[in-house]
Symmetry: C2
Subunit: 199 residues, 2 copies
């Protein structure tokens, strides 16, 4: 299309590769960048460069970090004997937003998925097992997703880590806060009944 | 939040300023950029730089261009005596996609909007008027939006350009192709009846 200058269509193509961004949205974003003050484009470029340059993975928990250890692992106020096992760094961000958890984390970097050929050797299960053997951990909370892969991973972890003598728990499944029981799906409602607690 | 490294939160903030991108989406986009191969980040950065550096506005029609004249204005195969008046460069892209129009364009760079204090002096109406006086134009097609601002702008143009003796037309409003009459709104249906044509 001759109406779009080449450099603009290259930007549209690049933006359309982002997840959830179709060609129409990419067009709108590209036009916004084109019209925005130069300072905005500069700050966006700098932010992308910084992220690619400075972010690595924490040597202790595999989470995102700007140094050898992430902010959480190097925080002396965190409870070292409590560890929460998650699939991905994004999960840590979600849990941190609650402000209720004060332990440390361990990121598996994925979940078991036979369909995608992801087996135990592709996850950081060995180094998790080493960590539980090496350090004094009172409780390991499994917080994998509640989908098939997450369930399978949790089950596998319980078998592998169980013999180590560490208390293993999994976060609760049930009706989300603020929702109607009427609209809850059967599986969630079943889990909610199974997990009922005394007042 | 200590779980997100500083450089990543700066990228999330930058991305959240894009139109239609909320903080959740910005987070997802930032994670994608973080995990994508370095080549992708590099190509995105280069595309943003190129767009900001090379794209200017065409001296003849105000559309986007990489030189003094845009590809359409400098195309000798285009019908010079036919001009289509649009609000923004994006409109040209939409019209070009039809592949049906072979004339040139003129971009007003906005529409009249008293609420946003955009008056005739903020649009390129003077240079449009000069162009119509200076060059031989057989027909000027007004293709402003069918909203209040677009209607107002079309009416204003018809008053200002009418005395110049150029044939002025406005694109048709009616039922969009592929839609049900049952679901058409009242205003569209009224316009569709007003604009009915003999077989």
């Amino acid at each position: 299309m001759s109406a779009i200058p080449k450099s603009l269509s290259r930007l549209i193509e690049s933006l359309a590769r982002l997840p959830g961004v179709g060609s129409k949205t990419a067009e709108r974003l590209a036009f916004y960048i084109l019209r925005s003050p130069k300072e905005y484009a500069d700050s966006l470029i700098r932010a992308i460069m910084d992220v690619k340059k400075t972010i690595t993975f924490c040597k202790s928990c595999n989470s995102l970090s700007e140094g050898d250890l992430c902010d959480i692992c190097s925080d002396p106020k965190r409870e070292k004997s409590l560890i929460c096992i998650v699939e991905n760094p994004n999960d840590i961000i979600a849990i941190e937003k609650t402000g209720q958890y004060n332990g440390r984390y361990f990121c598996l970097m994925g979940a078991l998925s036979p369909l995608d050929s992801i087996g135990p050797e592709d996850l950081k299960i060995d180094s998790l097992s080493d960590l539980l053997k090496r350090e004094k951990i009172k409780e390991a909370i499994i917080a994998t997703d509640s989908d098939q892969e997450g369930d399978m991973t949790a089950l596998y972890l319980s078998r592998v880590l169980g013999p180590l003598g560490v208390k293993l728990t999994r976060i609760a499944f049930g009706i989300p806060v603020g929702s109607n029981i009427e609209y809850a799906d059967r599986a969630t409602l079943t889990k909610a009944f199974e997990g009922r607690r005394q007042f």
